[in-house]
Symmetry: none
Subunit: 152 residues, 2 copies
């Protein structure tokens, strides 16, 4: 499922990522760079242990991976996935994450259609009124079978 979400094309340049760190007034350290490299090269949800294993032998501590992942998530660079086995996984997000939008993904071929408009602003306002929750955000993903795949 995670693979279906992935957009084709190269991942974000490392420079952009370190830039995001600096914007957040965080330091660009060896471990953080290395972790970002791993995430760039393996674009699927990785557990922290997997990330550690993909780093040069003994390069950094598991605790550092945990801390870095928290940071990257706060900065919006990474998205967390819970697959249902009690282990958190993280995946690098695509560049356009500030421009909020949704995707429609084919479950067969993973072709992606971007949905430009955000469909849920009105719903969000209503929901906030009814629930008392504030600062609402949402994450919406559609899947289906694309026209091409329907013919096969």
């Amino acid at each position: 499922m995670a693979d279906l979400r992935r957009k084709t094309g190269p991942s974000r340049p490392l420079g952009e990522l370190t830039e995001a760190l600096r914007r957040g007034e965080r330091r660009v350290t060896g471990p953080r760079l290395a972790i970002l490299q791993v995430l760039r090269e393996h674009r699927r949800p990785l557990s922290n242990k997997e990330v550690l294993a993909l780093l040069p032998q003994g390069y950094c501590d598991l605790a550092t991976v945990y801390r870095s992942m928290h940071l990257l998530r706060r900065l919006g660079l990474v998205q967390r996935f819970d697959v249902g086995d009690g282990v958190a996984r993280h995946e690098l997000r695509d560049a356009g994450h500030d421009g909020h939008h949704h995707h429609l993904v084919c479950r067969r071929c993973a072709q992606v259609v971007a949905i430009d408009c955000c469909l849920l602003e009105e719903v969000e306002r209503e929901l906030s009124r009814h629930s008392g929750y504030q600062a609402l955000q949402h994450r919406l993903e559609f899947t289906g079978i694309c026209p091409d795949c329907q013919q096969r």
Copy 2:
């Protein structure tokens, strides 16, 4: 959008649930009955600790709640949700439809509100017409800051 929040009334009759246990050749025990009662009365994703706390004082062991929840999941009676705080939650599934609905999760305390109606059936139809995709499904999750956390 009148009533977004799930009505808290009991759902599936208890008899139907114990029936499912028997069909699975599992025994109907006190702890299992009590856990099912709790799930029937609180129809939102509950952690195992929450379930235990909602049972009569000292009524059963946390390990039993874990084991029961595994069983109920294998039997398809409950659905597991991972909200992103490292704690698994379970919710009773509805008999009739697939149990599809959405959640509103507090980003601070992970408290969950179930949203009874599916907001996107109409959107899905529109989207299907415009994109040509078929058999659409979606996953939608709202997050926000719950009223309690707003005060802290």
